[in-house]
Amino acid sequence: MLQAFGDAIALLQALDRDVLAIAALSVRVSLLAVTFACLVGLPLGALVAVTAFPGRQAAIAVLNALMGLPAVVVGLVVYLLLSRSGPLGAWGLLFTPTAMVMAQTVLVTPLIAALTRQIVEDADRELGEQLRSLRLGLWRRATTLLYDARFSLVVAILAAFGRAISEVGAVLVVGGNIAGHTRTMTTAISLETQKGDLPLALALGLVLIGIVIAINALASGLRLYAMRAYG
């Protein structure tokens, strides 16, 4: 174990351009997926939070449960959709980075929507009466609360990014782990583990953790800065 860690750290110093390209692809795919998931998940979560409709509790329960979607199953469903024999086969997107973005978007949208719903509902408890007295429409209330809770929502978005960049099941199935094309950090780690090259797998794992920490630190820094400036 210690031996493997030592080897891994030695390998880190010799990181080549291939690894950097793989890391860049991982970050690019997951950032895009989280971006699209935010476009859908933030408004959806906020609307569920401020709207009363029949079956709302059941809808919330389903939304929360979808946070636990198995990545492999999401991958499989997107695979069947994008396969040449599937309904979207004509697009020819299977085994491309775009397919991986689609799968990860499906994976993390419920996560963002569910966390947003909770955060906005909590904000609504504080501000809701005021907003209602202003006779704002649903949409205005939702966006106002989203803005009000923006600093808490950063954590939800980071959680989604963490889930996206660390998952292996979905990107492996729809991306195919093609060298130089759809190989990400997680599929590369899985491949090296399979080849029995544990030190290299561990080195790649350390790189991935480093990336995740760096991005989280960046987001936290921005958040602190923004809180001081606008809070």
């Binding site: 690019r28 950032l31 895009l32 971006t35 396969s83 040449r84 024999s85 599937g86 086969g89 020819g92 299977l94 085994f95 491309t96 980075p97 775009t98 973005v101 195919g176 782990n177 093609i178 060298a179 094309h181 759809t182 491949l191 583990t193 399979q194 080849k195 029995g196 090259d197 544990l198 923004a226 606008y230």
Partner: protein, 277 residues
Amino acid sequence: MDALRRGFISLLLANLIAGPAVAQSQKFITVASTTSTEQSGLFKHLLPRFTEKTGIEVKVVALGTGQALDVGRRGDADVVFVHDKAAEEKFVAEGFGVQRHEVMYNDFVIVGPKSDPAKAAGRDVVEALRKIAAAKAPFVSRGDRSGTHAAELRYWKEGSVDVSPVRGEWYKEIGQGMGPALNTAAAQNAYVLTDRGTWLSFKNRGDLTVLVEGDQRLFNQYGVMLVNPARHPHVKVVEGRAFIDWLVSPEGQKAIADYKIEGEQLFFPNAAGAGRS
């Protein structure tokens, strides 16, 4: 903050749109192949040569033979390059593939703990499996419909050993690729059937060593097929054929023979008309 966010999002969108556009300006084919060819490093050795000569990029999706054939059946690859003759012939007979070409062979070996508790070492693969079964020594099976799994099941059948009642006892089906099977066997000091290529490039060997090799029946033939364009019209016929033609050409065959790990040749070219067939 809003302007910043908008700028960031448009940047990301531009990135996404530009990504596929760049990829599509090049000629490429998708090849469904096996973990043994990918994980042994053969493709890393072959593909740059082919791409340099033809300008065609080859994207390899490495799966078990059964899965790779399924990817071909669904039309998600242009070429299938695998090792299970019976399944390949069925694939072509059913009209999913155009024509099967033999490319190369390597061989299977049984690896196991150096102490060899079942006394399985020798030349006869069927006899070795009988001894392993008699000793109830742990044996790891791929269990994933791969070419190696199909071969293993054939050997058990030849030895009239029924492994279905001992599943989960000494016979362990893991449902994964060759690498994970070797990792599992190394961790549990178990016997396992592997292709020699993956074994030679495998690094986490633990106490395992080659015990059974050299049996005629351990011969492992690789074949390549174009996915039938009559069934899947988007199949890149010209580029796919170019890849197949190159593999069986003297140049491709030599490139295969040249691939060595620590001085040991992994695959032996045997396309029709290029030496032994």
